[in-house]
């Protein structure tokens, strides 16, 4: 079984674009006079790149293994909370209550001690590990139960939705110790770099681009491996795969956990750039929106998923600013149109379009 090349044309073009971006952003924002790339745009690009990474994570399970997770927002949010906890501890005594030991919201609800699960979050390395572990462990436990008992299809989708919904309700509670309704916010700096400064923003955006490139390469490496082929077998004929001796649940568990961790990384990069993480990130509607990014871009293409995320997020930024009423109509219509008219997504449609254009001149030449 010859292994497909790690970097195909799609990925090469996309990575090139990403590279140009990582050069253009710092140069345009920091080095050139008159800031041709304004800072708000830098922050926006950074946010989109995080979404793109999240979409790639979802594509990995949905596009390649057929698991439609309606709860990926939960993994994203958990990664975000892990990072948010570190950023919270970084504030130190600079909060409103100037309490050196407790974050503001804990002082506010009258807590006297830091709860044990906050211990150590003043170390970046621990937070970084938790960014991977928290979503990873949740995905592993959830998947272990679900896949072992062969919950599949829409049933699985519905319980992933219930999972994120339950987490949302839980995080809304003040007693959870994650800031309740308001979540974690008012961050000051990260590893000593001021979060409000242009330099830090550019740095985070570049880091997001690197993470996205890394996520794409890792996903591509997985999907072109033999394991990736087994995943596709599971997607297309799960039962048959079992009869070949593959433990389908182990494969699903593997990819689900990897994907959740990737989503966690995306969340961790997202939080310092937007400056807040709150329980609404767990809302089922958010998770479903991720699905439409992937579907729009092209399911099972990785690059398409990333593109889809960027296109939808950019459209959302534009529309919620220009025509706030129209955004939900547009999003709703997008869901309908993509599923009915664009089953292969934008990427698929563009590629077949290009293919057709190429073939046509060739055919004309042959006639002549």
């Amino acid at each position: 079984m010859p292994r497909q090349g790690l970097i195909d044309r799609r990925l090469a073009i996309f990575l090139l674009g990403l590279f140009i971006l990582t050069v253009a952003v710092p140069v345009g924002n920091l080095a050139m006079a008159g800031k041709p790339v304004p800072t708000y745009l830098v922050a926006l690009i950074g946010k989109y790149l995080c979404y793109a990474l999240l979409a790639v994570a979802l594509d990995l399970v949905w596009g390649y293994c057929g698991i439609l997770s309606l709860g990926h927002g939960a993994f994203f949010a958990l990664g975000g909370y892990a990072m948010g906890m570190y950023l919270m501890r970084e504030i130190g005594a600079r909060g409103v209550y100037a309490n050196p030991l407790l974050p503001d919201f804990m002082v506010f609800i009258g807590w006297k001690h830091l709860p044990w699960y906050w211990w150590g979050f003043d170390h970046f390395w621990l937070a970084a590990i938790m960014v991977l572990l928290a979503p990873g462990i949740l995905a592993f436990t959830f998947g272990w139960f679900a896949f072992r008992s062969r919950v599949t299809g829409v049933y699985l989708s519905i319980i992933t939705q219930a999972m994120t919904y339950a987490l949302m309700l839980a995080f809304f509670r003040n007693e959870m110790g994650f800031g309740g309704n308001n979540g974690l916010t008012d961050f000051k700096d990260i590893l000593g770099f001021d979060l409000a400064s242009d330099g830090t923003k550019v740095g985070l955006t570049m880091l997001s681009a690197v993470a996205l490139a890394g996520g794409l390469l890792l996903s591509r490496w997985i999907t072109t491996s033999r394991l990736g082929k087994v995943l596709v077998c599971v997607r297309d004929a799960e039962s048959r795969t079992r009869f070949l001796g593959y433990r389908v649940e182990h494969y699903k568990l593997f990819i689900f956990t990897v994907s959740a961790m990737m989503a966690g990384v995306a969340g961790a990069l997202y939080v310092p750039q937007v400056g807040i993480i709150n329980p609404s990130e767990f809302s089922p509607a958010n998770s479903i929106e991720i699905v439409i990014w992937v579907a729009l871009g092209g399911r099972g293409t990785l690059v398409g998923a990333a593109l889809g995320a960027i296109i939808v997020a950019a459209a959302k930024t534009y529309l919620t600013g220009a025509l706030p009423e129209a955004w939900l109509y547009a999003l709703g219509a997008l869901f309908i149109l993509v599923t009915i008219a664009l089953p292969t997504g934008v990427l698929g449609a563009v590629e077949t379009g290009i293919g057709r254009l190429r073939r046509r001149p060739a055919a004309k030449e042959a006639e002549a």
Partner: protein, 260 residues
């Protein structure tokens, strides 16, 4: 009809371990007994044809052997030591039981060669597959299999593009690739031409000897070509057993099966 003692069926000396041993197996679906007190013994290297009218329980029997369906009662033993009722599909496949389905199922979005490669006997753990590297031996094995199933020119075609008969062959190829000790073959000749049917029969005959094979088939020509012992299944239990001439002469068999 009463259940025979399984050892009496073949009249074999008891010290020779049977490859597969079913005793008094029953399974009901919402009250309907699809398998009813079924007993069957397959010896190592034996080729066995199973026939019976639609709904006799042939496919369900294979489901039970492979761990897809759990029997309500009865024993299913592998080489007289392993209890197959405790295992699932992946376990039985790893144990060396290969299966071809009544409705051919291949991995449609993989190429023919990939379908075979995925079936070749190897470590099935996610870790192993993640770091798997194709080697010369594997390539040679795929070539060999492609030769046997005569799909060499389709090597890089998507399996989904194959015709029904070609899919049957591909599935047989995948079965061979697994290198199983027991092959369960459900209606392999459906959708094949007469000539291909005979080729399949020859292939199965050549496989038997080293491995045990159970073939389910409605095509009597095919069963005759196999020239092996035949088990007639009816309403979930064994109605008759013996060579084709003998069972097809039995009045009860004619009544339930051949006569219709």
């Amino acid at each position: 009809m009463s259940a025979h003692h399984p050892h009496a069926i073949g009249g074999l000396p008891p010290e020779e371990l049977p490859q597969l041993y079913l005793n008094g197996v029953s399974r009901a679906f919402e009250g309907f007994k699809a398998i009813n007190n079924l007993s069957l013994v397959i010896e190592p290297g034996e080729l066995r044809a199973v026939i019976g009218p639609n709904g006799a329980g042939k496919t369900t029997m294979m489901d039970i052997i492979t761990g897809k369906t759990r029997p309500d009662t009865g024993e299913v033993l592998w080489q007289q030591t392993v209890d197959l009722t405790k295992l699932d599909e992946a376990d039985t496949a790893r144990l060396g039981i290969g299966r071809k389905f009544q409705k051919p199922t291949v991995f449609e979005s993989h190429t023919v060669a990939d379908n075979l490669a995925l079936a070749i006997k190897a470590d099935r753990s996610p870790w192993a597959t993640l770091f798997h590297r194709a080697d010369v031996a594997e390539a040679a094995r795929i070539d060999e299999l492609l030769g046997i199933i005569r799909l060499g020119d389709k090597r890089h075609r998507m399996a989904g593009d194959l015709s029904h008969g070609q899919k049957q062959w591909l599935e047989i190829g995948m079965l061979l690739a697994q290198d199983p000790q027991l092959l369960l073959v459900d209606e392999p000749a459906a959708g094949m031409t007469d000539a291909e049917t005979m080729l399949t029969a020859d292939l199965l005959k050549s496989i038997a000897g080293e491995r045990s094979v159970i073939v389910v088939e409605h095509d009597m020509e095919f069963v005759r070509a196999l020239g092996c012992k035949v088990t007639v299944l009816h309403q979930g239990s064994v109605l008759a057993e013996g060579n084709l001439e003998m069972v097809s002469a039995m009045p009860e068999v004619i009544e339930v099966y051949l006569g219709r």
